[in-house]
Point group: D2
Chain length 340, copies 4
């Protein structure tokens, strides 16, 4: 039985990890912790866990984590994870880090977008970007997973077939993404108060969001050359889910290479348990994917242009669900365990 | 032209006061202020006011207020107003205070429920409780209005006819009230984050809410004897509106005194511009009253029991609308000016 | 392996039954049907089931049901179930009926509140009211379960200890209940349109709701004498969940019998897997129970009065979850199977 | 005093027209009607109008309308208006039609997108497209106004300066638009039920929406040549508001013509009372415009690309507010009357 720890359980991602892992038959939650004054039953912090678990949440303490766990999920804020990762790796633990700290391979880009010096540069090269549909083989061998961001997950999956096969002009990509509010985490800020968000809708960080370089990095890698997307995120007055509407222009000759885009996508994702391609004229809606680990994709071929609609649950395929999928791959558990 | 000031414009009540008073033809907004580092156009703070007003919001400063205004609306937090009121009164200004600081006549009760010493006891006796339907004559003469709380406004208006005429057992009153989230103000707190409130519903401060003593004080005054209600407020995942469902038992002989309760209510509120009584079998919903200054009331006579459903907009009849109604009365403007 | 059928899968309760039963290891979904022109993959009707099941939804046909199933869940509208039940029973099938058709033992009361003649009176006496916490022993032996209504489930569980032990005045009970919109089913009606319900809140069927006689029947049975509650339901602008705030007066001598009400509740529900009692001063909120089969209860002892706050997910403990709990009991599966 | 009629008051646009026109000092509401069995007080149909108006809603009847009115607002469904317009014009009335029936100048396009034969082709040429910012001079003289659609209003205003000045590649325009649910009207349909829309988000009519030809027609007219946009509308789980995020590529030499796009927009809309341009780095959100007649626009110049975020209230600037603005222009009332 694998002993698993979850560090940072007071946020939405940590809470979801507990929920998922309580139903996972191949592992044992051996440790949960958060910044706390004194230990507290998780069922007291989240009454929904009453009658389901007796787990006690402890204060953050690297020794305690190392003593109890084989594998550690870090659900900590960006710029905090990098203080824990080297200590865990040194103690021989496997780590799945849900923060952005090990996702960006160019340190300068990370430091610019997250506005801090990186304090564990050495381990960045060691990290595997935890998108199973692209990096499954590497994930199997990994000791450190950089679990992808929510916007990048849906964007990369929606574009990978077209970019990898060179069917679209790499500089024509526009990602108009809309996310539920849990994406912002559980920190008190006026902008995320109910009365501010409810009955409102807005674009934010227009083409300057920190997930753009992450998407650029991965799509460039698939394309085999540098590309730069246009990326505008929006805040939806709902709890969960991201829907991205994506626009791209075909390269000349694309039609010769791919007569039917939907067939192309189906083939590309043929063996993927968590990617579902819609039939012609049908597009995913958030209701289809929330509370699931699926990424659903609909495609419209408009001649010179392509329109793609893709959707995920930002807390599952966009965070904790994908993290568990990565663990399942690393430990040879059936990939869908606790996720279907 | 009356020169009016609004102090504390960054909260929801202050924002609503500006919106209402911009459409008021008998007054001039001569001053607006809030805790600020430096003056700022209100249209920059709230872009919805762009093209509507050039007003500049200043930092809080009693001299500036006194120099510019004849009448001052205080939309400050509880326990803050009482530091401003004596200075304004001393300078001869009229004051409409939207906080709770002058509503409770028993100082000990105020100090217990608001958890602070009262620092301006002298002026409590001077204050008139600004519920026009009960205190219109006194409001006309007042220099200091204690503008009622939102829950008390709807509760007192819903019960006044029955209590004043002695038709119900004063100790049988149960008020089950449900409020939108703007009632909590615009302060960042985890409990009021969108992802916490949305798709949730809960009771809070079960029978220990600070509005209970305010309701008790006014209903006791109408009854001519001390009574104590049962009061359970709930948080609705909507922006605006309070709906209260109220239960009471008739006293013996009540039937003899009042054959038709709906007629009784219609008569009691006959001349009131902002109270509307529903016909039999019809009850108000929030949609009927939000963005209006009305209090709507439906009554069900169940023999020994009475059920009342009453609704207001918590920011209008429950705060800023009522404040303007009070000003209209004080200055002999038509009572509905800027409110219909 | 038990062969299970679900009849009426286009409504919310049927959809939830599929979701729950797909994760149930002791049964096989052998048949699903609804009023349809031609058979259709359930994953086409609800894309969220894609990659999870290949089930085909058929048109309603009693022969097909009987051929495929040992046990049938009827998720049909009220007044429709009673045309199916006798045919299923005759064929020797077990039936769990989620409609109201077999809940009310007094036929006249049923006919008045559901505004139709009952067409299967004979089987009413056979039916067991499927509230496990009260009728577990009978459920074990039952061939026909009348699965309780959503409001009755939360109301009866919240009051059973007090009523069964005779601690409260049976005529003092007031149930102020608030339900999410899925309670109204998936039928197109102007009153349930998004733009009508969103940002609104209202009471409806004030003290004339069809669930009142169901609650009266069961509480009277527990009390050993006829009682009549006051019941006011409200419509919450959320998808799922019911929260009931309940008020009652103690009988004289109640204090002598029960010093601590919370302890009393804990003892009463000691062995129940799906009832959770809150500690003093803590009350359930919907977030604690939605997407679970739990009923959470908080109690406030106010001397002469008692205030109870209780919450369930209307589609789970209030419908489909409870139906599966009943099946688990009938077939000696662990009671929590597929429900935790 | 101008006598005004509103035909079709049971929909959201009709309801808003009543609300706005009750506050309009230069006109009298002389007639309101809808498909009804018998006349009914509007305050009975919409309790929010109680104490505000005694207006009686009549059944639709062309004679009654003609007898009472000088100007008629038609808030009827598409394909219905065209049966009323010729009769009203013949009787010498002025008409502001909120349906799509007179917006599309190419009859074939109308017939394709609205799936019906046009039954009043003659008057299409007479109609003036009621977008004041483009057609003010013609509106002044018009007898028949084709009041623009909601998506076209925000899209055309957001793009007009760039298209009119030839700064962008006309075939590069992508409009990713998001609308609140009132845009769908008040008709009972499963897809617009609260439980279906709430916590969901989706694209619909992907690049086949009937507003696309309306936008194409007007932008082509401004460009002086045929252009075709890409248009993907989405359904937001809110009541009111449209926010459009628009992407376009500059033509070569655009930089030479316009150094600062924000200044360009400010100049273009200099005299417009209802268009507000945001400063650099600031974008409108729905909260800024709902319950107002404003169209707010933010612009981001990205070198070769331009991103525009624009927002309106779909029921006001996108329907009833703009209709009243048109009336104000036609009758030389101050353009902002009843709209600020």
């Amino acid at each position: 039985m694998l002993n698993v720890g979850i560090v940072g359980v007071t946020g939405y991602a940590g809470e979801e990890l507990i929920r998922i892992l309580l139903a996972h038959h191949h592992i044992k939650i051996a440790h949960i912790s958060a910044r706390l004054d004194k230990p507290k039953a998780i069922s007291e912090m989240f009454p929904k866990f009453k009658h389901k678990t007796e787990l006690i949440c402890k204060d953050l303490d690297i020794k305690g984590i190392n003593a109890a766990c084989d594998l550690v999920f870090l659900a900590l804020p960006h710029t905090v994870s990098m203080d824990f990762v080297p200590k865990l790796l040194k103690a021989g633990k496997s780590v799945i880090d849900l923060s952005a700290d090990y996702r960006i391979r160019e340190i300068g880009v990370y430091e610019q977008f997250y506005n801090t010096k990186h304090r564990d540069k050495m381990n960045i090269a060691l990290a595997v970007y935890g998108l199973p549909e692209i990096y499954r083989a590497k994930i199997k061998q990994a000791k450190l997973i950089a679990n992808p961001g929510c916007y990048p997950t849906v964007s990369i999956l929606a574009l990978a077939p077209l970019v990898a096969l060179g069917l679209i002009d790499p500089d024509s990509i526009i990602i108009d993404a809309k996310s539920g509010v849990t994406g912002a985490g559980r920190k008190a800020a006026e902008g995320f108060l109910f009365s501010e968000v409810n009955e409102d809708f807005k674009a934010y960080k227009v083409n300057i969001h920190q997930h753009a370089p992450e998407i650029n990095q991965e799509l460039s890698s698939l394309a085999g050359k540098r590309l730069e997307i246009t990326f505008v995120p929006h805040l939806l007055p709902i709890n969960r889910g991201i829907l991205a509407t994506i626009y791209a222009k075909k390269v000349k000759g694309a039609k010769g290479k791919a007569k039917n885009l939907i067939d192309l996508y189906k083939k590309f994702y043929k063996k993927e348990p968590f990617v579902r391609i819609r039939e012609e004229g049908v597009y995913p809606r958030l209701k289809d994917v929330v509370f699931t680990n699926f990424c659903d994709i609909g495609i419209k071929d408009e001649g010179e242009n392509i329109i793609i609609v893709a959707a995920i649950d930002n807390l599952l395929k966009g965070a904790s669900g994908q993290a568990v999928q990565n663990m399942n791959i690393m430990y040879n558990f059936p990939e869908y365990t606790a996720l279907l």
